[in-house]
Symmetry: C2
Subunit: 337 residues, 2 copies
Amino acid sequence: MRIAIDAMGGDNAPGEIISGVLESIDLLDDIDEMIIVGPQDIIEPQLPSEKSRKGSISVVHAPQVIDMDEQPVESLRNKRKSSIAVMAKMAKLHQVDAVISAGNTGACVAAFQMRMRNLPGVNRPGIAVVFPTFEGPVTICDVGANIACKPINLYQYGVMAKIYSKHLHGIENPRIGLMSIGQEDAKGNEIVKKARGLIKSDPKMNFVGNIEGRDIFKGVCDIAVCDGFVGNVILKLTEGLVDGLFKAIKHELSTEKLRLAMKFKPVIKRIYKKYDYNEYGGALLLGINGTALICHGSSKSRTIKNAILASKNFYTKKINDKIIEYLSQTSVRTDDE
Amino acid sequence: MRIAIDAMGGDNAPGEIISGVLESIDLLDDIDEMIIVGPQDIIEPQLPSEKSRKGSISVVHAPQVIDMDEQPVESLRNKRKSSIAVMAKMAKLHQVDAVISAGNTGACVAAFQMRMRNLPGVNRPGIAVVFPTFEGPVTICDVGANIACKPINLYQYGVMAKIYSKHLHGIENPRIGLMSIGQEDAKGNEIVKKARGLIKSDPKMNFVGNIEGRDIFKGVCDIAVCDGFVGNVILKLTEGLVDGLFKAIKHELSTEKLRLAMKFKPVIKRIYKKYDYNEYGGALLLGINGTALICHGSSKSRTIKNAILASKNFYTKKINDKIIEYLSQTSVRTDDE
């Protein structure tokens, strides 16, 4: 399998990206190839000499960089030689089997969607992230690819996340919840109400109905479906709140005796580790005709390593074929797109 | 001041509601009157005898109860003698100055809006909750009154929350953030982009621009404006996540030696207290022609007591007059409502 990775994506690029690639090599198969995309003069000096390099690592030159806060579509138009644009083109030409970036999310989504196109039967791709909650992993889709969702998009996010969750998390019949503001049928906006009808009408979906924000952490569902605006707020809110709480705990501990504080450190570390999104590597862009992972901008080498392994898992398990098959057989259709 | 309270609202009614009223009496002024609304035969036995009763407490009979999960509009139509409906009518007839309920939020919003009407200049009321973050209180509006916001609604939520935050939290010039999925101008859906233009065009607004979910806990704003769907998800997600984290901490501690766990307890309690929404009593329905507070369904007597004090504060500081004045002077108008 050929995996392309954006050397220049994220706040810790290229150092942590390259380290992540090197860390992953031992865990990949001999036939796997890593292709690092970015400015050759920056990447090469950070790699071991070709002689001492383990595995298959090559560099594809892409001299331009899209910054984290650049306007996605415009930056892609102006920077055709950026790592993101070059990677997307390689995927289009089937020169690589997977693309991974911790860079500008909007630019990644735009480039991958434009070049790789959607899977047959998928109206709009969605980004799926896994929340490692205390009750098990919960997959949330979409968290930012599509901020003007139609009901059919929400239904398809449920389908794609279900297949993903089944084959990657080993959950036999994942419970699907639809994010709303109350559990009753009548709750939610028009889009949500219509999406509810679509999901309900598919007997193969293990639909638990509407869920509320709190339910993500209560073990009532394995999948939470929502539009990209709401999902993005959920993702970032969770991050900010967890950070804030751990900071508060640290602060409170600092007012205690040092010996006591030291004793709690391992307890806190254990909890933090359980709630560490780095474990899952990155977010999958589901519905794209290929394997595309988007990592957090603050990704460290461990995140990158895990993303590489996740992309291999996704590709090997042929998740996309299963999505195509499911959608070709479903009778759920709407004429709103 | 005459404060009406729904005896039958919430999971702990009527016991905790009545206790909250009794706890508040010592903190109110002699001229203040508490009016408990609900089934007389249930309430009276739980009150001290009239002789031993401190302060002014009376009961207004309302035999029906709207359950937490009833459909709001329908339940109001069918239960005209419910505590919520009776309270709303009393407010309309100026028999009371404030109404408080920990009951069905949808029914409260519908009843209060229908009976009390909007303040002059306000298009749609919004529910404002205060998040006691580690960086200070952040007011979020709307968290569920209006799930199909127009740009003018979001602008007005900013105005109302600004006045509320200034006069109730003593923040001289509150920083207003608009909830979106990225900080740049171009980020967000069409409604958010238009709202951004409206807020920006008002020089009296201390607008910090778009904010993301994580920013609520980072001290970048005193007010977060969003539509009711997103706000409701934020509110419940935060609740669920904080609960989940504290449960996880408890669980981890339970695997430690008892002596160590006991030492950690006060630390956790201190943090929990800092993040305790009960401190703020309840959520204000801003934009209504009167004083209306909606409390959490799980409210305990302390929440109710704090809500009573908050309603008094809101009323005494004439927040509504200030909102009317501000909106009569602003040049920000749209023709979309």
